[in-house]
Symmetry: C2
Subunit: 289 residues, 2 copies
Amino acid sequence: MVSNLDFHSLLLYNPTTLRKAINALNNIKRIGVFDSGLGGLTVLNQICKYNEGLDIVYFGDTARVPYGTRTNDTILAYAEQDVRFLKKQSVDAIIVACGTVSSIAIDDLASELDIPIYGVIEPAAEAALNATQTGRIGVIGTPATIRNGAYPKAIKAISASTECIGVPCPLLVPMIENGYEQDDELVEMACRRYLSSFDGSNVDTIIMGCTHYPFYESTLSRLAPHITFVDIGTALAKKLPQLLNLYKGEKTHVEYFVSDPDTGFQAVANRFLDSISARDISSVNIEMY
Amino acid sequence: MVSNLDFHSLLLYNPTTLRKAINALNNIKRIGVFDSGLGGLTVLNQICKYNEGLDIVYFGDTARVPYGTRTNDTILAYAEQDVRFLKKQSVDAIIVACGTVSSIAIDDLASELDIPIYGVIEPAAEAALNATQTGRIGVIGTPATIRNGAYPKAIKAISASTECIGVPCPLLVPMIENGYEQDDELVEMACRRYLSSFDGSNVDTIIMGCTHYPFYESTLSRLAPHITFVDIGTALAKKLPQLLNLYKGEKTHVEYFVSDPDTGFQAVANRFLDSISARDISSVNIEMY
């Protein structure tokens, strides 16, 4: 029975908000995770590493990757289709493992959805704020991510006095996607170039603001040993139990869906994943959703 | 009046082939040129440089770039829309200034169309065969272009004894698109790496099998001064008067259309173009065609 006080509190909410609040208290039995392509696999990897026993549906929009070069309207429209597809897979919550969608479309998606949805920006901002001693945080990312300023915005929202410096690193994703190893001299030269942009800035913490970058974390750490590098996947994965009431089974179970099966997903996936492996990959025509 | 002989010859043709043959003899008053994005501008640039006074409609599919990572079916479907859009602009012939479409979809497009259509592969193959003394030709391109082997196939079709060695250069397009200059040490290191793959091969001619690469031609030529580099845009532009009965006006006129106007087309265009400049840029919803 609802008490008078509770009843009045409930009246303050609209039906969607209310449904969401109730759903957030529910056991989350099945989580949808999506990305524009492959990068989100590093987030998935960390989610599974820090939260064993989850039941996950991963969708990679390999037919329409990359999202970063699209207009905001197109990115939202794509993300809405991704979300509709995941809802059809009976997920109870959605994780946006895509930096672009997290920074551009998360509020719109959240307002349209009746289940919880979380992106990768806020947890990374919090982790960086916890790590910094100097109050100066760096962000490395794709040109689009740095341009839209999502990380500085999230950091300022928590701590207005913290300074934030963004450096675009346009070559790192192509290097990773084309198999350039972390000790390759081209990778080292590029990383050294990008890190040198922070010289004299007193930055002690750098958010790797792209889901691909953990692949070069060892190179970055070697070149800048005094910097704390924040992996957005790890930050989200560690935060997840606070965000959602996770139901954990005996064994982690991940189903994979991609919109273009011919893009070598499995091979790349197994380079990106270490706590799990990518089998059971199905194809989906995402334009239908 | 058609003579008996002519009449019998004509009977050998189906109506589409016939219409095409007649159209090819016609004055080509307006040419459509399309690419998945910006790279085709280097082809356009050469077309205008070697053929003054043309009336051209350029379409860059900036909303769906890059095509190289899509499936063949998707690439053909996209190209068909691009062609339908250009036909609506009353063009008399179409130039595919996109390596991916030229290598994958040109035969299908030609069989569907009633006006002439030409791609960038054959003219480049011919130019390389004319240039080589050793009978060994190299091709540099994106991983997708090298994988599909269109240039070796075109070369072998003309000269079966010519050896052809393809080397994928995955970093060059990202470097060019992100403004890395031709004397940048990262560009030099990447070019040196890619060219070293030809060491000991006796290759004396290399096709720059990507519309972006002319941007780094001076770097490549400096690092390998004894190699003849073939620019696919130049090869096509020089061949064009043999392929089409071009009508030339007093002044070159180019109209530009893009599918995503927010991608900084004009700025990049003016880096890619030297014989003309990019004004008069309109937006088109290509999914409608």
